[in-house]
């Protein structure tokens, strides 16, 4: 994880650069969720944590968490 102010870039290391193309820039909520994903958790866990940390309602938090998981799965950053 590399940072420019409040923008955080996920930069693959070594051989992982073969799998992850392009720039992956995370804002603060995305970085918060990324850190949570260091340990096993599901979309519901992420949504609950987002609701507790940021001023968002449960529906919005769940939608954001689901979209984030979908996006990072598509670019190969998340394995089931």
């Amino acid at each position: 994880m590399r940072s420019i102010g409040s923008d955080h870039l996920l930069v693959p290391l070594g051989a992982r650069t073969r799998e992850v193309r392009g720039l992956v820039v995370l804002n603060e909520p995305a970085r918060f969720m990324w850190d949570l994903l260091a340990e096993e958790c599901c979309v519901e866990d992420l949504a609950a944590a987002l609701t507790a940390r940021f001023n968002v309602n449960a529906d919005r938090a769940r939608a954001d968490a689901a979209a984030f998981v979908e996006e990072i799965s598509q670019i190969g950053l998340l394995r089931p």
Partner: protein, 371 residues
């Protein structure tokens, strides 16, 4: 191999602007060697490939790696490796491999002629975000005219094909000179046949060390540059026509680019420069530490004199590529107008005016050769 994802360049520029606000040295440029196996007349830096004196002064691999780590610790994220020709360095992978483990987004510039299957396979183990190869023509004859090395054409093609075989991200670019201008469309066709993009540049700067070079003999005339711009980048000419006044509206900072704000360069001897076209100040990051050299570079940029009044009030200033590097290499001054660019802006304005009046639009890249 797919090019950069759409929006990538825009996003990088936005991140660089944000870094500039923080004075974070987010973009670095390492010139691993000034030596090159080609002998292009227009090159701003080239030294002979077998120049033992230059090779002896080049920063050793371990020093490049420690400098990169210091820069990364100070906030560098984007790093461009260039030359000369980087693959003249036999220890290239002693530099490259550690960089791939530092959390850096790497770009590699090469002429492609020394890329073997073995080198492509090594790169593919941890490929850069992008590799850019410069094409100098669409035939051995044109390569001979531009680079002095006709066989480099076949070597470059082989290098491109090796990188494609191994899936290394690749883009092509070309430098248009009087010697290869008729090859632009054939080069585009070559790129298309490989499924690659080709970006053309025709703005040739003189050598940064002030030594004599052939840039003036290689440059297109201002009129030919304007005609080429009208075809290759029609939006820029249309913008000149539409905006009318293009002066700097009070923004007279000498360095309008990211130099000393979020970017820096290190030359092959380990000196920090503002960019690879400016050789002053030449700071010593290995002696002072990277962070001190970076602060010194910022001070240099901040203390630079404002843009020359003639440039600041010029109606074409906002469209003109003049920068301190252009001024220094053309005039020796950081700020003086570069007459080649003044003539180019006039040619563009003339062409834009003719187009606005419904005049003929150029249909071929440049007029008949004038040499």
């Amino acid at each position: 191999m797919s090019p950069h994802p759409e929006g990538h360049v825009t996003m990088v520029k936005a991140l660089q602007r944000r870094a500039a606000g923080l004075r974070q040295p987010v973009s670095g440029l390492f010139e691993l060697t000034e030596r090159c196996n080609l002998a292009c007349g227009m090159c701003y830096v080239r030294q002979p490939a077998n120049d033992a004196a230059h090779r002896a002064r080049e920063l050793p691999a371990a020093d490049w790696v420690s400098l990169a780590q210091e820069a990364a610790d100070a906030g560098m994220i984007f790093l461009l490796l260039t030359g000369g020709e980087v693959f003249l360095r036999r220890d290239f992978f002693d530099i490259y491999a550690p960089l791939t483990r530092m959390g850096l987004i790497l770009t590699l510039f090469t002429n492609g002629t020394r890329v073997t299957d073995r080198i492509a396979a090594r790169l593919a183990e941890a490929p850069p975000q992008m590799t850019q190869i410069t094409l100098y023509g669409a035939s051995a004859a044109t390569y001979g005219a531009v680079t002095g090395v006709p066989e480099a054409f076949d070597h470059c093609r082989a290098g491109i094909e090796a990188l494609l075989r191994h899936g290394v991200p690749l883009e092509l670019k070309t430098t248009i000179t009087r010697q290869n201008r008729d090859d632009l469309e054939p080069m585009r066709q070559m790129a298309r046949d490989w499924g690659l993009s080709l970006a053309a540049n025709w703005m040739l700067m003189q050598r940064r060390d002030g030594a004599a070079c052939g840039a003036e003999e290689c440059r297109l005339s201002p009129q030919d540059c304007a005609a080429l711009a009208a075809i290759e980048r029609p939006g820029t000419l249309a913008a000149m026509s539409a905006t009318g006044s293009g002066n700097l509206s009070g923004d007279s900072a000498c360095f309008a680019c990211q130099v000393g704000k979020s970017s820096f360069a290190i030359n092959s001897f380990g000196r920090m420069l503002p960019c690879l076209n400016l050789d002053r100040p030449a700071l010593e990051p290995r002696e002072t530490g990277f962070s001190m050299a970076w602060r010194q570079l910022q001070s240099h940029v901040d203390a630079a004199p404002p843009v020359d009044p003639e440039c600041a009030s010029c109606e074409a200033a906002a469209h003109c590529p003049r920068c301190p590097a252009w001024s220094v290499t053309e005039t020796g001054s950081l700020t003086a107008p570069a007459r080649y660019l003044c003539d180019l802006m006039q040619a563009k304005r003339d062409l834009a005016a003719r187009q606005a009046e419904g005049g003929a639009v150029p249909t071929s890249p440049v007029a008949a050769p004038d040499v």
